[in-house]
């Protein structure tokens, strides 16, 4: 009798082992790839983005960008903005074929036909509320980590590296505190100057032309302008009485 209890008991225990193994497997992270019961058509020969390919010598399915060319869809993506960017609303092909050189200058924020280092003074697309909102959103993605939400140059990355430096860690590297975007160093720049910094980078800041689309760059410029103004904001109580009165009357300044 005791024997039978023992046998049945150990059978039940043994039966629980696979269940326990599965329960464990369900709750851990494992570096072994997913188990394909049947491979079927799970893996096919066609090319997918960022996947290896045996066809090309460098082993990449995605072809790298050829220097000096513009991918067709790049142009279509930004086409609307680029059209508006060009002062006379040139036809698309005209821009590509005949005025490539000038067109690139506009993209770089430089005055058409102007000399080196001369920048467009005003954002060449209509600055609407929607554009500034878009600018804020893009700013929060690409600029905020370093420059901070208020643009003062103390984003979370800067705070982190500052702590590293204080602890004497070599990981702090050659980092310098990002520029305060509400300071005169930026507010005195023409719009095209800020645009050019986004495109080409400056000092320790890398170029962002590959990450940010053309309209979005101008949107960010618009938002940085708004930040600059907010940096200059003073309490209405401190304004001269005359100005306050005319503001109250709804006049523009």
């Amino acid at each position: 009798m005791v024997n039978r209890v023992l046998i049945i008991g150990s059978l039940i225990l043994a039966a629980l082992i696979p269940l326990a193994v599965i329960a464990l497997r369900r709750n851990e992270h494992s570096p072994t790839p997913r188990f394909h019961i049947m491979l079927g058509m799970d893996k096919m020969a066609y090319r997918k983005p960022q996947r290896p390919s045996k066809f090309f010598a460098d082993g990449r399915a995605m072809r790298p960008h050829i220097a000096g060319t513009l991918a067709r869809q790049d142009f279509i993506y930004n086409n609307e903005a680029q059209m508006r960017l060009t002062p006379n609303n040139w036809k698309l092909d005209h821009v590509v074929l005949n005025t490539r050189h000038k067109y690139e200058r506009v993209l770089l924020g430089q005055v058409l036909g102007g000399g080196q280092g001369r920048f467009i003074t005003h954002i060449p697309i209509p600055v609407t509320k929607a554009l500034v909102h878009r600018g804020q959103q893009q700013f929060d993605i690409f600029c905020m980590p370093c420059h901070g939400a208020n643009g003062r140059g103390n984003g979370l990355v800067n705070q982190w590296v500052h702590k590293l430096r204080q602890a004497g860690s070599p990981d702090a590297g050659t980092w310098v505190r990002p520029t305060d975007l509400t300071s005169p160093a930026v507010t005195f720049l023409p719009d095209g100057g800020i645009y050019s910094i986004i495109v080409n980078g400056v000092a320790g800041m890398p170029a962002y032309k590959d990450q940010i689309a053309v309209v979005d760059r101008w949107a960010i410029v618009a938002y940085v302008r708004a930040l600059g103004l907010s940096g200059k904001a003073v309490s209405a109580a401190r304004l001269p009485v005359k100005v306050r009165a005319s503001l109250a009357a709804g006049k523009k300044h």
Partner: protein, 238 residues
């Protein structure tokens, strides 16, 4: 020799129990095997939790969590393209040219930067090649990365958080409403519908005019196609 002593085959008494035993053991075994297969061979067990060791020990917990970098900083095309690309090495060098420039953990990044060869990242979430999936369509319909990838901002090593099998896709395609949120909050993994002021700002409404049923409201506002279209085989197997 009497009749009863002739060498006929006699079923012993215990043989009466055999059918019962066979039925019980067989029944229990069948139930056991079904439970085992159902529990062990389902997509949740097989697919979830895959966490390959990457060539660079990149931590989303640090970058996307503690440093608060938005997903789009690196996965730039996620709102524009079907494929949510992994960032090129240049994106890492934006910061790592200056931060931790000598770190051994970044060996592959430096190698890739010098030679132009891609970093051999291992794909974590991988649909079979006969399935069509599109990020832009989902993200612009107001579905968060959180819904399909889990708390990426708390992962030191990315793991697959959802089964990604057909039943899972369909469960949502039959009723997407509860999963929707304002479009510009999809990369905000801490989003909650309870912050009314923020919700109103996101939707360009006032707190007073906020819809009672957010899901149904967004279904209309984002023009989500009918369940019939979303569950059509051709949508995902094209």
């Amino acid at each position: 020799m009497s009749d009863s002593e002739k060498p006929y085959l006699h079923f012993p008494k215990w043989a009466n129990k055999v059918p019962v035993i066979v039925a019980t053991v067989g029944g229990l075994l069948t139930v056991y095997v079904i439970v085992l297969l159902g529990y062990g061979a389902n997509a949740r067990t097989l697919n979830v939790g895959y966490a390959p060791v990457q060539p660079v020990p990149f931590s989303h917990e640090l970058h996307a969590g503690l440093l608060g970098i938005n997903c789009e900083y690196c996965h730039t095309d996620v709102k524009r393209a079907g494929y949510a690309a992994l960032p090129p090495t240049q994106t890492c060098m934006n910061c790592h040219a200056e931060i931790a420039p000598k770190s051994k953990k970044l060996a592959w990044i430096h190698k890739s930067y010098a030679t132009g060869l891609p970093v051999p990242w291992i794909k974590v979430n991988d649909e079979p090649d006969y399935v069509y999936f599109n990020h832009a369509a989902h993200v612009n319909a107001g579905i968060s990365c959180l819904t399909c990838h889990g708390h990426i901002n708390e992962m030191t090593r990315v793991y697959q958080a959802k089964p990604l099998n057909m039943a899972w896709c369909l469960a949502c395609h039959r009723d997407p409403a509860p999963h929707l949120r304002p479009r510009n909050e999809v990369t905000n993994l801490q989003w909650t519908p309870n912050n009314k002021a923020r919700l109103a700002h996101d939707l360009n409404l006032t707190v007073a005019t906020l819809p009672k049923n957010l899901g149904q409201y967004l279904m209309k506002r984002y023009k989500i196609p009918s369940t019939k279209l979303l569950t059509d085989c051709e949508t995902c197997h094209r």
